[in-house]
């Protein structure tokens, strides 16, 4: 019988599927950050915290039955991003912690799915440019 002489616990190999999810998330992170900070007006630290949540959610989301590949699930990541950002800002503004301005009010009035669609279009344009330049 083969006996392992390892003294340290084995390092967990990342599952290829999780690796793919991570790669897709990393690719989308720039756009997510822009959405959170530039469009929804979150502070940098708030955005960073939200991004961590989004990643954890996206990993489990991709494992749901019937969902397509992580790459094809990217538009739903953006929907979740916009939904969460809107709910967060509404909460913060509603509790009086932060004031609002016209730009923020306008985006908070829009349906997150609609905002996410605009971002998805940007994503498609970006990937088109990357593919064209490659």
């Amino acid at each position: 019988m083969e006996i392992s002489d390892e003294s340290a616990p084995p390092v967990r190999q990342e599952d290829p599927f999780e690796k793919e999810i991570r790669a897709v998330f990393q690719d989308t992170l720039g756009l997510i950050h822009i959405a959170l900070v530039a469009h929804y007006g979150l502070e940098e630290t708030e955005a960073t915290e939200l991004e961590k949540d989004l990643y954890v959610w996206f990993v489990r989301f991709c494992m749901r039955p019937g969902n397509r590949s992580p790459k094809e699930s990217r538009p739903f990541l953006l929907v979740a991003c916009c939904q969460f950002a809107r709910e967060y800002q509404r909460y913060v503004v509603g509790t009086g912690v932060r004031g609002t301005d016209e730009k923020l009010s306008r985006i908070l009035d829009r349906e997150p799915a609609e905002v996410a669609r605009d971002f998805s279009t940007s994503l498609e344009l970006l990937s088109y440019r990357i593919n064209r330049d490659a």
Partner: protein, 369 residues
């Protein structure tokens, strides 16, 4: 668009690597419900654990429907009753929908159709609030159609399933699409549109998605075998069954295996090989009983009884009828076969079993099996 998110929400449970979550879920399910500790219960608050638990329950839905129904209903209740936030964003609704769908699917196998429908309503109500609800709502629609099939509403299934197939195809859900096409085929067969049904079954036999799913391929072969058997092409039918046996056995689907035994027994019966037929029916009956599928057990008792009468074993046939009748009546299995049931009861009481009433009852049951 529906409100999906509630705020503020933070990750409340430590992340579990997938392998650890699956091990924990397996141990959780191996522990009897009444022996579970607070530590076990606390695992339910961890979304990674719940992903693994739902995965295992899905895997076991066909082989242990009563356990899965019980576990999934308990899970749904726990999530509903819990006031603590669960997971991130839409995850509470997602897990509620999954648990309810599992209960609905498994209760259908157990013959509890009204309850199954209510659970599918619950599932749909939860899935409506999640991100990308399309694939999961399509799965609920599929479960609803299988329920209609059980209720013998074959025309409705044949009418509605093509639209669902389109949805699955559009969503890229190849296996689900194949399963829906299989449902289409078996419904068409019941609507006496056998040539269309066989055409679909032949396509499925060649389908790549089906080839990767031994249990489904096995069921396709059984259906083709049944068709050949009806046409008295017994050698070809037996060849189909022979190919189906290892596929179904390897996929651990006791329900499909029991159905295969019934098909084989029917082929023997058509060939007047009554002892072999009896053996097959009884073996299938034992399998269905083990799975807790009382309506199927009742149907098998009727088949055994008919075969025993053909063998001239009338007394034994009466016992089989007496074993079947309580379930047939309790579960309202043949509302339109009420007269046949009454006639049969009376004939058994007089110890002169009426073969015509028995045949009529079997025909009603056969259509709903």
């Amino acid at each position: 668009m529906a409100q999906i998110l509630r705020f503020p929400r933070r990750p409340l449970a430590a992340q579990l690597p997938a392998g650890v979550a699956v091990d924990s879920a397996r141990k959780y399910l191996d522990t009897p419900i009444d022996a579970r500790s607070d530590r076990h219960q606390s695992l339910l608050g961890n979304p990674d654990f719940l992903v693994a638990l739902c995965g295992l329950l899905r895997e076991r839905a066909e082989s242990s429907p009563s356990t899965v129904a019980e576990e999934s209903a308990a899970l749904y209740q726990w999530i509903s009753d819990s006031s603590a936030p669960l997971g991130l964003f839409d995850e509470r609704d997602y897990f509620l929908g999954e648990a309810a769908l599992l209960v609905g699917r498994t209760l259908r196998h157990l013959g509890e159709r009204d309850e199954a429908e209510l659970w599918l309503d619950r599932s749909e109500a939860s899935f409506r609030h999640i991100v990308n609800s399309g694939p999961l709502l399509a799965n609920v629609s599929y479960a609803r159609l299988t329920l209609r099939y059980e209720e013998r509403r074959f025309q409705e299934v044949a009418e509605l399933v093509p639209s669902l197939i389109k949805s699955f195809d559009r969503l890229g859900m190849k296996l689900e699409s194949a399963k829906a096409r299989f449902l289409n085929a078996v419904s068409l067969k019941q609507c006496e549109r056998s040539s269309e049904a066989v055409g679909i079954l032949d396509e499925l036999r060649q389908d790549q998605a089906v080839a990767n799913e031994p249990a489904l391929l096995g069921q396709v072969l059984v259906e083709i075998g049944e068709h050949l058997s009806v046409e008295e092409r017994y050698v070809e039918a037996t060849s189909c069954y022979r190919q189906a046996v290892p596929l179904i056995k390897q996929s651990n689907r006791p329900l499909a295996l029991a159905s295969l035994k019934v098909s084989l027994a029917e082929t023997f019966r058509r060939q007047e090989l009554l002892d072999h037929a009896l053996e097959g029916y009884r073996s299938a009956l034992a399998d269905f009983a083990e799975l807790g599928m009382s309506t199927y057990v009742a149907y098998l008792h009727v088949l055994v009884s008919e075969t025993l009468i053909s063998c001239g074993r009338h007394r034994e046939a009466e016992w089989e009828i007496l074993a079947a009748l309580p379930t047939i009546e309790e579960q309202k299995m043949v509302p339109e076969g009420f007269a046949a049931v009454a006639l049969l009861k009376e004939s058994v009481r007089r110890r002169k079993t009426d073969p015509n009433a028995l045949r009529e009852l079997r025909e009603h049951l056969q259509a709903s099996k």
